[in-house]
Symmetry: none
Subunit: 201 residues, 4 copies
């Protein structure tokens, strides 16, 4: 449970980061946005880095991604596919959250080891879930290859989010979705069927 003060600071930091990026998130700015003094920040957090870590911790926990799909009740193939598809569509639309995640990922890759570790955990988790979904949906045998497919899928989503944030506009969303639909309904099926026949190199 976070204290009131911490929550105020976290929320402020989040808002600032979304608007001004990590570089633009200064202690002063966060303090101002939170309506407290700069000194007060240091009552709650030891350093700026600690704040970033907490922002990430909260931020990444919120992001359920496509992994919210319940696996408890056996659903029909078509239903699962549809849910995955809808989940991805939702993800593409969450501009603020995507920015935040992207900024944090960027900060992590700049050398912040703690953040990097946090991301690693999260990706492991996300990919685990995605793999589980694939296993169920496509009746595939869990293994390094299903995991690799999940990894590639996650990568494709991240990369697509990046292009959306950058407004690269290389092709209409309609066609992006057509390909996605094909992949989900046929591509993966084909892959998992074929791949099982191929011996591991």
């Amino acid at each position: 449970m976070k204290s009131d003060g911490k929550m105020k600071i976290l929320e402020a930091a989040r808002a600032i980061i979304i608007e001004h990026g990590i570089q633009g998130a200064t202690i002063r700015g966060i303090a101002q946005q939170a309506g407290v003094s700069t000194g007060a920040i240091y009552h709650y957090y030891d350093s700026k880095e600690a704040i970033l870590y907490d922002v990430m911790d909260e931020g990444l926990s919120e992001i359920k991604r496509i992994a919210t799909i319940s696996l408890e009740d056996k659903k029909r193939f078509q239903e699962i596919i549809q849910e995955i598809f809808d989940g991805m569509q939702e993800r593409f639309k969450k501009d603020a959250e995507n920015r935040l995640q992207f900024y944090l990922a960027h900060e992590a890759m700049l050398g912040n080891e703690e953040l990097k570790h946090k991301f690693k955990e999260k990706y492991q988790d996300w990919i685990n879930r995605l793999e589980a979904i694939f296993v169920q949906a496509y009746d595939a045998k869990s293994g390094p290859l299903t995991r690799a497919v999940a990894t590639w899928t996650m990568a494709a989503i991240d990369g697509m989010v990046l292009q959306i944030l950058l407004h690269t506009d290389t092709v209409e969303l309609k066609h992006i979705n057509q390909v996605l639909e094909f992949l989900l309904s046929e591509g993966f099926s084909h892959f998992f069927k074929v791949i099982h026949e191929v011996p591991d190199k």
Copy 2:
């Protein structure tokens, strides 16, 4: 054709970024590494950002090279595939350039209009080339769907680069590559064959 001075600076910047990260890449540091004065830097580049952009641009133009080679002479399918595969492997290794891509994308998202425009152009270009390769390799008919596939492919590569930079280590590279290989040698073939039979919605 880059001047000697520019090359010296680019090489120095790349070296610094690999060793100290982007945050550690200061003008002073780059100048020192390049063995010139700080002022000299500004003889060749208008700003630090221009240098970073050039490092990225220079490094990632690999894609351009591959595209050019592949399309010059009619090669056999297997050869083209191999080149694409190798090109992607190369991309994964370009540590400094990949970091820069995310760093600069970050800047672009924060409102740097010039950068935003450059990224848009760059993605359009990359995806155009990728599409052209696909058209040749898979004997597909150029259209919004081939373009969408190229866009997804680009996205997947970017996303994979992100995971590599974050060291998410969700699965061994061997399996990542197995999936990639399947996609290139069979997946896309299958897709383009099937897709032509499906009418545009």
Copy 3:
């Protein structure tokens, strides 16, 4: 009401300018003279220019003071005249502030819109006050002509300040003042008497 910190900085800036000129007034120098760190300066002022503007503003608000005093209680003509005269003499002596006025005017002309706006307001204010004094002292009827006289008077003072700063030494101060005295005690009286009889063209 200026804070202690601001006053310290303003005084330091004024001292530096008088001794080393505007070019010699660096942030480091001002900070040193004020006995604070360079960073502290930015706690009080947003930019170097803001400091310089404040030094000028503070110094030249003398005019404002005179105007206020004069109009508070009904004074005799001779007294008001004397105050205007003394006020002008004071203005001539404000070396740092006068230099700054020209320095900042220079900046304004080069396209600094904020500064341009400030100058416009300042001149409007000065001339309003001067006009009010004239109206009271010479019992003139407020209107475009009294305003025009105030404008010319302000112009003459500025121009004289310029010549003082340039040390043109075209004539002894004694005679400059004799003419000024005549203007104040007789010239303007004559003008306002005559002008009211002339119909507006």
Copy 4:
């Protein structure tokens, strides 16, 4: 006689100063405008300051101001007045020249002793001429007071030019001119008549 190279540089410097002010006039910029290399500048001039001096020398010589009025042929009072008036109107309109002169004056007052000296000479000259005109027009006796009046007049013009350059817009030009007209046709006459009766203090 100035060499071709010098003339090119001077003209370039002049143009740059008018547009970007003295601070904006860099050796590089001047060289570029003149279409020569930065090094070439130093073939013709020893330093930047030397260029400024020359620009001023040319610039101030060109400015004939109201002093172009010929005193050779005895003109009628009304004619001379009209010429002075017209001369001032012309002066007000020469935006580029006024800027140049103002910028140079500013540079001089920043501590450049050579420029200051040059300005002193010029002001002495201008005021001498103005005084001579007054003596003739108003039939006054040359002396310190006529000189003081000329100095004040010059000051008023400079100050008015400043306000015009700053666009202070305190009053319509029409009324500015009405006051000026009164001064020329009646004010000065009155002054010179009265002043002769007053004994020098």
